[in-house]
């Protein structure tokens, strides 16, 4: 596979964007100034901190910020935030913060960006519980950007083997298996997702929930995928080398796994590349409705739940940032998927 990146500048950009996103979520605890569940109730819905580099006297200075103080405004009956100008908090890089384990192994306290003693730095403001939006975006990305991949690893093997068996054996087995697949395809995907998510018991730990949501997401697409695989297997199984393998007495399973399914690999790669965005969108949709990843865990979808309130949309735009991140990630995946398809399947003209 040689993707000509010079020709496809845009897919190079998309590729870099994705790498940056994944590096960011890999180093989430290093990059984020706060822990995922750190909350400061006094800073509920606090706006992003402003970082100053020029002092009021007009001099250049090391970057600094002010803490925010919440005040009730009796005239407008609203809660306003005002900067506490009495004390400057300088922004520090590669300095100590909360302790965490990098990659789950190395204990460290170093953080990319923090402030000096008592300072509070909320680069993208806070949510309703006064949790740092920026940090949660990074932690949420861990779930939103990986759950699709995990679901893929469940859904595609099932589709491959299912379609392989159906096409290879044909006859009655084929008939029954394909009718079942068609029945699953006949239920509108999102309705099915909602219902599967809703029958999960509510008293699960967050990692159990994560695993089960992954399994549920894997329900998308396996049926359609297995149908295409079946079609390909039907045409492959009459090739001479399959007959040869049969005549030397290889088992059916071995023939399917070793000789037939590898022939479908280029289609499989294309299908995988094109289906990742669907998984990401489905997770965010489910979590947006409150059926996916639950609080206090963060995912981009459940962070967007806050966008269901008008006041938030209009006056707290920083709460919409997860939406833009989903957009960027999905767009990049789409572009890369198109490029991969063009490379592996030159007949297809779509998106060229």
């Amino acid at each position: 596979m040689n993707i000509n990146f010079k020709k496809e500048k845009i897919s190079l950009v998309a590729f870099i964007v994705l790498i940056v996103l994944y590096v960011c979520i890999l180093f989430a605890s290093f990059l984020s100034p706060y822990e995922k569940n750190y909350s400061n109730r006094k800073l509920s819905y606090a706006p992003p901190s402003v970082i100053y580099t020029i002092t009021p006297e007009g001099k250049f200075s090391k970057p600094y910020t002010y803490n925010l103080i919440r005040e009730f405004n009796p005239k407008t009956l609203s809660t306003d935030f005002r900067e506490d100008r009495t004390k400057r908090h300088y922004v520090k890089f590669f300095s100590d913060g909360f302790e965490y384990k990098l990659f789950g192994v190395f204990k460290t306290k170093k953080h990319f960006i923090t402030t000096d003693n008592g300072g509070e730095l909320h680069l993208l403001g806070c949510d309703i519980n006064g949790r740092d939006n920026f940090s949660r975006l990074l932690y949420g990305g861990r779930i939103s950007l990986t759950i699709g991949f995990l679901a893929l690893f469940i859904s595609f093997p099932i589709g491959l083997i299912y379609g392989g068996i159906s096409g290879y054996f044909g006859g009655m087995i084929d008939n029954v298996l394909m009718r079942i697949a068609e029945a699953v395809m006949s239920i509108p995907t999102f309705y099915l997702l909602i219902i599967l998510a809703a029958i999960l018991p509510s008293n699960m730990t967050s990692s159990e929930r994560f695993a089960l949501i992954t399994v549920i997401l894997a329900f998308i697409g396996w049926a359609g995928f297995s149908r295409v695989v079946r079609g390909m297997v039907l045409s492959i199984k009459n090739e001479d080398y399959i007959k040869a393998a049969k005549s030397i007495g290889q088992s059916n399973l071995k023939i399917i796994l070793k000789h037939i399914l590898p022939q479908t690999s280029s289609y499989v790669i294309i299908a995988i590349a094109l289906s990742i965005p669907g998984f990401i969108l489905a997770e965010s949709g489910l979590s947006f409705l409150g059926l996916g990843i639950q609080q206090p865990d963060a995912s981009w979808g459940n962070m967007l739940k806050e966008a269901q309130e008008f006041y938030n949309i209009l006056y707290r735009p920083w709460l919409l940032t997860p939406g833009f991140l989903i957009f960027i990630a999905v767009l990049s995946y789409n572009i890369i998927g198109d490029t991969i398809r063009d490379v592996l399947d030159p007949k297809s003209e779509i998106g060229r």
Binding site: P188, F288, L304, A307, L314, G323
Partner: protein, 322 residues
Amino acid sequence: MSIWYYILKRILQSIPILILVTLISFFLIRLSPVDPLGEMRLNPSVSKQTIEAETKRLGLDKPVMVQYFIWGKNFIKGDMGTTTTGEKVSVKIKERALNTLLLSVNVIFWTWLIGIPIGIIAALNYRSKFDRLLTLFSSAGMAIPSFFFAVLMLIFAQKTGLFPIGGLTSPNFYNMTVLQKITDILHHLFLPTFVLCTLSLAGVSRQMRANLLDTLDSDYVKYAISKGIGRKKVIINHALRNAINPLITMLGFEFAGLLSGAALTEYVFQYPGLGRLILEAVMKSDINLVMAGLVIGSFMLVSGNIISDILLRITDPRVRAD
């Protein structure tokens, strides 16, 4: 094989699939630890008699397999039971399904009306600036999460005041004349349609572009052009007709995608559609409603596929041949 025979065959083929759908959904729902009448028992406005009638009607004291057959028998008779608030499920579903159908048909109409010309222009100006721009825009259109886009559109509606926020009708709908009613509905439909169109426009225009490029590259088109028939005439009479056929196949898929995609959009816009109904039913664990909604949704999807197959048969002589 006449077209009527084909239609009959397709309908008969879809019956076992629909039965399987009901089986799958029934067992999925029964697998859940939810008490099907739990919500009803808690609702003081639902009388004891109703609950007893429901228990008997659903056969809750009998094994699951028997329950399924009881449900199936009732369903065929058109009796889908009552919701947890005591309303008739069939009445509610009918209203909501029609609303979703209205939205979906509206969306498909506009995406085709806009998407096909765009695809044609892009294909005829292959690799031009317009073509590249289209590819970029359509990638972007496909990447926006529908609910997020809907939320952004709500901000737009709120700020400009040009469009009503959510719902399908205004509060004073029943006092309007017929003409006012129609404009009122169209006014409310605009934003959901716009959101869903943007999402599916990309697919249609790309598919159209790809199809036309394929046909333009085929031998019969080259032959016709080399014979001296004008390029314009060849494209209109030969290439376009064949290029549109795969889109008709896509119609079924598109409809399926719309039913799913519409659920989130309906939720954000508070549009009284089937998707939102199911969602609300799921949250209230209203089993009768969920079950009926699932089956009706699947029924709509299957019908959409059958219709697109039949249309394809009418338009494409090559499909008829085999």
